[in-house]
Symmetry: C2
Subunit: 400 residues, 2 copies
């Protein structure tokens, strides 16, 4: 794939040049002073991104490894949890827990919709009344498979009010760092994210924050664990190391990416994501694609749209790929029914405008019935209306 | 760390230029055609390296994740295994198994020595006579912590003869690809290695081969697993994918490294490792350092030597680091007692000669009593005596 390919999937995301350069640096001793300094910088940078003073630990793993770490470190077989599931990744977290003997009550939300905080409260009360109070609640912050962002702050407030001892365990993989998020202010005990999402880094690192309350639970949690034992990671981190050889090149890349992030600032980053997301939704809608996610909870990092009736997604996808645009299809039950446009990390308005242009041309070539000639202007207007643009976004818009 | 640092630890190893370049390529869709083609190439290349027609599966993890996968996929709580341990990594494999409820009988070999195939046979007979026959035997091929290579072929033959139904589960992390190894010919059921060792790639990928016999065991093995479930990896691989987002940049790097490996050829690679190892041992011994590993089983990928009495390793290590040479200290009970010189992957005679020169100068500066002025010649002679040099090695020697 060339530099000019427009990779618009919800991770891995395109890499800034300085991140790619950093990822190609010569190896160092992962038990030496350079790595120790790097681990300190990266941890502090992630704490700023998570808005937390909790420990943030690096695991060499995919995001799913981060999800597994969230389960095996804080629960015991037979524990009752409430799993708020709004799609493939919510289901995955529930499946992991069941694999380790946890009893899972699932609040399964219709795909494309967001979880309702009031229902979360009802389910927690029902579990408590049945004599099986939830020891933890799983929540997906941003459901990548449907393009829905759950109202996590309100859900967390409900959990604190209804089941104050329950740990709040959050899949933050495709949201943290790109949209407003406040681990400590919202009282989130465990949060995981992945390097290939808003962090603009290749996949291979999962990052997990752990509250004091969660560490207390760790002491009695009896699910067996070794590689993903976060206590081992904490002990090693106190010495500037990881317990097992870390993905050094991806740590280099993360260090470089966090420097870019700090330079831009989270307010500007959030505004940029809101603007490109608004542009994406407006452009797709103007072309006549039906948006899949509830508009009130549409994600600012990934947009899902329905594949029009009679259209074979795999054919359209191949057409677009030939034109330099890579989109994501649907997952699980949504395969062939929706497609997804990723817009997180190093994404700017011109990337979205290019994507809309290519999608329009590819759809026409494949005789997909769409409205032509209106998407770009709709996208520009939506981006402008989304709020004050950061300097990077404004510059990108001006050159598009 | 600069390009000119001589990183002589047993992984991460220095990266060839083409590997670094490949690792910095733009991201691709890990569910798209480029990655599918890459996964096919890499898998075939690893099968050549392992000398196997078994499945070889990629895990996004440190080597220890590969060890965990070897335990959780093929065993059940309460299973009896024999663990042949010759150092830190043998102990680690036993610890992982115990964490998951496996009953471990350990054949603990004195550190610095190799396991004796006859003792392995005795232990297996003892277990069988006690009514607790081993369902599996763990063997570390090359014990990185002591610099010892176990006689794996003979050990495997003994296991086949004594306990023919026991699975042979091998930590091949720091040996496969650098020294002669034959998964199928030796009848090894499960073998794990790691990207940052002989493969000349950054850390972040573990690669595990699985025999038909092991797959049969997988069907009834009841240790809980999810992220490291190799069946999920096999099912995804059949579709040209990994179950979870893979470490794409490290896969790119591995693809480039395997191209270099195939171009050099394994016979030449093995000869090169034998020669640089012989040079390392001869040079250290000539300087007066006592070699730690039994000479009959000294590793061709890492050499261990004793820290002379009265010398503080951390001080000498810092001195050497200041002179551009990074060596590894001892691990576990060997901390401060030995140091280790890594010589695997992209290593040539001049790298070893440079390391010896720096070590000599640094030792003199730190008033470590050594024999001066003889190491380089001893190393050159040992390399030449080790056998016919490959063209790369010969060229490196000529320019040193």
């Amino acid at each position: 794939m060339s530099d000019t390919t427009n990779l618009r999937i919800p991770g891995p995301t395109p890499l800034p040049a300085s991140v790619r350069e950093a990822g190609s640096r010569p190896m160092v001793n992962h038990r030496g002073p350079e790595f120790k300094a790097l681990l300190g910088r990266v941890t502090a940078g992630l704490q700023r991104g998570f808005r937390t003073s909790n420990d943030v630990l690096l695991l060499t793993a995919s995001g799913t490894g981060g999800l597994e770490a969230m389960v095996v470190n804080f629960l015991s077989p037979g524990d009752q949890v409430l799993s708020v599931s709004t799609g493939v990744f919510g289901d995955r977290l529930a499946s992991i827990a069941r694999s380790y003997g946890v009893t899972v009550a699932k609040y399964a939300v219709e795909w494309g919709q967001a979880a309702d905080p009031a229902v979360v409260g009802d389910r927690l009360r029902t579990l408590a009344e049945a004599g099986t109070p939830a020891t933890a609640v799983f929540v997906t912050h941003n459901e990548t498979s449907t393009g829905v962002t759950n109202p996590l702050q309100a859900i967390a407030a409900t959990i604190h009010a209804t089941a104050p001892t329950a740990l709040i365990i959050v899949d933050g993989i495709s949201g943290v760092g790109a949209v407003p998020f406040a681990t400590d202010a919202w009282g989130l005990d465990v949060v995981a994210t992945g390097s290939q999402k808003s962090w603009m880094v290749p996949p291979g690192l999962a990052m997990v924050s752990v509250s004091d309350r969660a560490w207390a639970a760790h002491q009695t949690a009896s699910i067996p664990r070794y590689y993903f034992d976060l206590k081992r990671a904490r002990d090693a981190a106190a010495n500037g190391e990881t317990p097992w050889t870390p993905a050094v090149s991806i740590c280099f890349a993360l260090d470089a990416a966090l420097a870019l992030i700090d330079a831009e600032g989270y307010d500007a980053i959030f505004a940029r994501h809101a603007a490109v997301a608004a542009a994406t939704r407006a452009g797709l809608a103007a072309m006549g694609f039906r948006l899949f996610a509830d508009p009130a909870h549409a994600s600012d990092t990934v947009t899902s749209a329905c594949v029009p009736a009679g259209v074979e997604w795999s054919k359209l996808s191949t057409e677009l790929r030939g034109r330099g645009l890579v989109l994501a299809g649907g997952q699980g039950a949504l395969t062939g029914r929706i497609f997804r446009v990723g817009h997180l990390g190093d994404v700017h308005l011109d990337d979205i405008l290019r994507a809309l242009e290519t999608l329009e041309a590819g759809a026409v070539a494949q005789r997909v019935p769409i409205v032509q000639g209106v998407a770009i202007e709709a996208a520009r207007q939506a981006a402008a209306a989304a709020g004050p643009l950061g300097p990077v976004l404004a510059a990108a818009g001006a050159t598009a």
